[in-house]
């Protein structure tokens, strides 16, 4: 069990997320935001979004503005129709049914494409084999690109 200790802070973060969502602290209509180390004209505009966000253009609101301190451009997105509480629930997030996961992933990928020219892909083929602890890690890694604090 020693190797599973790290699940404790992750679980605490999950419980905190649930409590926040119940109190409304985590609103489903909150903007998801990244700062891109490129000038605003390179990042795009509401009518011309960078890939892969352009594939979601009809479903999202976009806000693009210069970041302070010469830090590039703040790129923020959110769904036009707020995500329902059920769609944002912990079970939905664990099973990959929360639509914000797709949006977070697209936002991160857009930033990476704009800055680095590519989205880093995990190594393949895998070298791992299934174990109980490994399956738990796999659940977290499968969702990790669409989760987090954006």
């Amino acid at each position: 069990m020693r190797k599973l200790w790290w699940a404790v802070p992750v679980a605490v973060a999950g419980v905190t997320a649930v409590r926040r969502s119940r109190t409304g602290e985590w609103r489903q209509d909150r903007w998801l935001t990244v700062t891109v180390n490129r000038p605003p004209m390179d990042v795009g505009s509401e009518g011309m979004l960078p890939p892969p966000l352009d594939g979601l253009a009809e479903r999202i609101d976009v806000r693009i503005r210069p970041a302070p301190g010469d830090r590039g451009t703040e790129l923020a997105v959110r769904f036009k129709e707020p995500v329902s509480a059920a769609s944002a629930s912990v079970p939905a997030r664990l099973t990959g049914q929360d639509p914000r996961q797709e949006l977070r992933r697209a936002l991160r990928d857009a930033k990476s494409l704009l800055e680095a020219g590519e989205v880093l892909r995990p190594d393949a083929p895998p070298t791992t084999r299934p174990t109980p602890g490994g399956r738990l890690v796999e659940v977290f890694t499968r969702r990790s690109g669409g989760e987090g604090v954006l």
Partner: protein, 391 residues
């Protein structure tokens, strides 16, 4: 190909695994010439670093030869002998552009885990758990190197493989500690830990003009090596009251800069070590910060403490009162290697830094589990075990 795999807590084995593939246009594939054990691997092997899976290839400090390049690679070609930075940086996010490479925004493929643990994720690192990006490690015959134009550096002719190897991680880590701690001429610098990183931090402090550099450990061979190659004074903490000795050697002031190069599995011979061991084993704290506490207490008023050792999560009895009331600057970082590696290769070629002495043992990839046993138990004077897949 063969690779050293983590199979569970304190279980390593050499396995046959699929060869790595180019996955992005900016990747190269490197054939390993040599890799080395690192103290931070012990945290991983012992189960203290989160999110490992059975079969994960470990290792992050290595030198090798480019055998395949992606279509967008511009600075490398097949046949280049390269030393590769252990942290992967994209080179173009705000953090990379500001030489804070271990904080790269674009190289951790599992950002959600890092954000749950730390608030924001780190950059990816080779062979260092899925929380740190899940990239394959380097104790293998071949490894994929993403963003190779930024993280792989051609080794100058005249610098041998073993010397170059340590510029992958331990030399820039040590140098960064002295650099970001602001070591300047006239300073007295104390370094906790005489492993490879501690020795390199001590050497960096000497080269940055420190008046005196005092390194602290308990292993006689390491203390002797630090005196000889880093040009530092030493203290054996098992025979001396470290705080009293430092006060005496610094005119009662305490060191201007204290660099901790020990990490989460610190050892000491005091009662706090037993306390930390019990709390860590009961999972009431994840890391043992013994050397950090000592550095904070020993540091002079308004001095700087730099934490180079790897810590994973929460510690207990952190002397925050001493930090506040003595007006200390406390800083830490994972290694921004790309910032320093070109300069360090030049210094290595010029003979200002020596690293070959760190390689006290050389073993084949088949013997890699034995290499880690030797390194962990510090048997036969082992400072670093070099693993050569080709031998």
């Amino acid at each position: 190909m063969k690779a050293l795999c983590w199979e569970g807590v304190n279980k390593l084995s050499v396995e046959q695994v699929p060869d790595p593939e180019l996955r992005n246009d900016q990747d190269v594939i490197v054939r390993l010439i040599a890799g080395t054990t690192c103290g931070s691997d012990l945290h991983l092997i012992g189960g203290y670093i989160p999110a490992m899976r059975a079969g994960d290839v470990i290792g992050h400090e290595f030198v090798g030869e480019v055998v395949e390049t992606g279509s967008a690679v511009r600075r490398h070609k097949v046949g280049d002998r390269v030393v590769v930075c252990s942290f992967v940086g994209c080179g173009r996010c705000w953090y990379c552009a500001n030489d804070l490479w271990s904080l790269c925004d674009n190289t951790n493929t599992n950002p959600g885990i890092g954000q749950a643990l730390f608030g924001y994720e780190t950059a990816g690192i080779f062979g260092y758990s899925h929380a740190m990006g899940g990239l394959r490690g380097s104790h293998a015959e071949y490894v994929r190197v993403p963003f190779a134009d930024y993280g792989a550096f051609k080794v100058p002719e005249g610098v041998d493989d073993t010397s170059a190897l340590f510029v992958s991680d331990s030399v820039p880590t040590g140098w960064m500690g002295a650099d970001l701690a602001g070591v300047k001429p006239g300073d007295v610098v104390a370094v906790w830990g005489c492993g490879a990183v501690g020795q390199m931090a001590a050497r960096a402090a000497v080269l940055k003009g420190a008046e005196r550099v005092i390194a602290i450990d308990r292993i006689p061979e390491r203390l002797a090596m630090t005196e000889r190659y880093a040009g530092a004074e030493t203290i054996d903490y098992t025979t001396t009251d470290v705080a009293a000795e430092l006060r005496e050697r610094t005119g009662g002031r305490g060191p201007d800069v204290c660099i901790e190069a020990v990490g989460m599995e610190a050892h000491s011979d005091g009662p706090m070590h037993l306390y930390d061991q019990v709390k860590q084993q009961l999972r009431l704290q994840t890391d043992r910060p013994t050397a950090v506490r000592q550095a904070i207490h020993a540091c002079r008023k308004a001095g700087t403490v730099f934490i180079l050792g790897v810590f994973a999560s929460a510690v207990d009895k952190f002397p925050l009162g001493a930090v506040i009331n003595k007006g200390l600057t406390v800083r830490g970082a994972q290694m921004h290697g790309q910032r320093y590696i070109p300069m360090l290769l030049d210094r290595l070629a010029a003979g200002e830094i020596e690293t070959a002495q760190l390689a006290t043992h050389t073993l084949s990839l088949d013997e890699a589990p034995t290499a880690y046993d030797m390194f962990k138990e510090k048997t036969d004077g082992c400072v670093r075990a070099v693993i050569r897949p080709g031998s």
